[in-house]
Symmetry: C2
Subunit: 205 residues, 2 copies
């Protein structure tokens, strides 16, 4: 039932029309990591060189949960604050197999396209496109009454910092990037006008 | 020597003219906290009710280090990424005794004013002004060539998330607030046009 509701909501969100969508369940995020908060902040660093070595679904689950996951299921509250509690941030996982949207409530990934958009995320920094996964952060600006562009950027910063820290804790590399081919990415994901592309994070070794 | 250089830089930054400034050393941030990264993200929450109970210099040191401190002294890199590595974020500590600017390199606080600005940070949410300390995040927009307002907001989000997580790890309450009396705060701190007030965080129990 949850999946059906989500699929309908997702279809409305992505304006992709009606067709069956691939939904993949993620493992539960691992809440027993031993890395301390200070160690993660100490190790936080931006990296620009990546290997093709794959990352695991468990690592992806932890990273997406950190980015905009739910840490209080009863009240539907998130790991990050958002301006006016708009919960405007959505995260996409982008790999060689395509792009899928993270659903924090269901802890699933729903395929949006089977296109590999890593090259259009990387643009001129094409050497980075070998990273096995990218997390793309977008803000749904329609959730704000005013100052939407400002708050969307700020909220992306919150999610992005958590990705940076979780990567540091998992022994993975990342770097937040504002550079991407905005027109091509929006087209590939069929994103409407009100969804702002904020940042993308290569994830890898 | 470091302090002298900082005092000169600070004077230029704050446009406060030439007079002796009170500089206070902070304890080194405690790097041996036991709280894990997942526990801090799990406990991250926004609180709007505060007691007058004071916080310690050690807690403040950890919080300011998390916000925009240095985690790689050799290369001068920070606990947070900033757009184009502009390092635009500055943090002020605001208490009943006044306001002071955090210097990440020297790990010191330099007094800017002896005025208690907590009421003008709180505005209509005046009950929060009892919190013993506020951290005010500003962005030096002159460090960007373009998109300054967007990047300043984003970078404040990074710093603010680290404050949220460090508060959770220290057992302290906080909430990021964009609301404040912008004109009065800028006047009280003698901030020039290019310094944007981004967020303030009450810190307490």
């Amino acid at each position: 039932m949850k999946r059906i509701i989500f699929a309908i909501a997702f279809t409305a969100f992505s304006s992709m029309g009606l067709f069956a969508q691939k939904v993949k369940s993620l493992p539960q995020p691992d809440m027993n990591m031993k890395v301390s908060i200070t160690e993660a902040m100490q190790k936080r660093r931006s990296y620009r060189d990546y290997q093709t070595k794959p990352v695991t679904d468990q690592q992806i689950s932890n990273l997406l949960w950190a980015a905009c996951g739910i840490n209080n299921p009863e009240r539907g509250l998130l790991t990050i604050p958002t301006a006016t509690n708009a919960q405007d941030i959505k995260a996409y996982l982008c790999t060689a197999k395509g792009v899928s949207l993270y659903d924090p409530k269901a802890n699933t990934l729903t395929e949006v396209t089977d296109k590999d958009i890593r090259p259009i995320l990387c643009e001129r920094q094409s050497a980075m496109a070998v990273a096995p996964a990218f997390i793309l952060l977008v803000s749904d600006l329609s959730k704000f009454r005013g100052n939407a562009e400002h708050y969307g950027a700020m909220d992306a910063g919150y999610a992005s910092q958590n990705i940076c820290l979780m990567c540091a804790a998992l022994g993975l590399k990342t770097v937040p990037r504002a550079m991407m081919n905005y027109d091509e990415v929006k087209k590939a994901l069929s994103l409407p006008e009100n969804i702002a592309l904020e940042l993308n994070h290569p994830i890898g070794y």
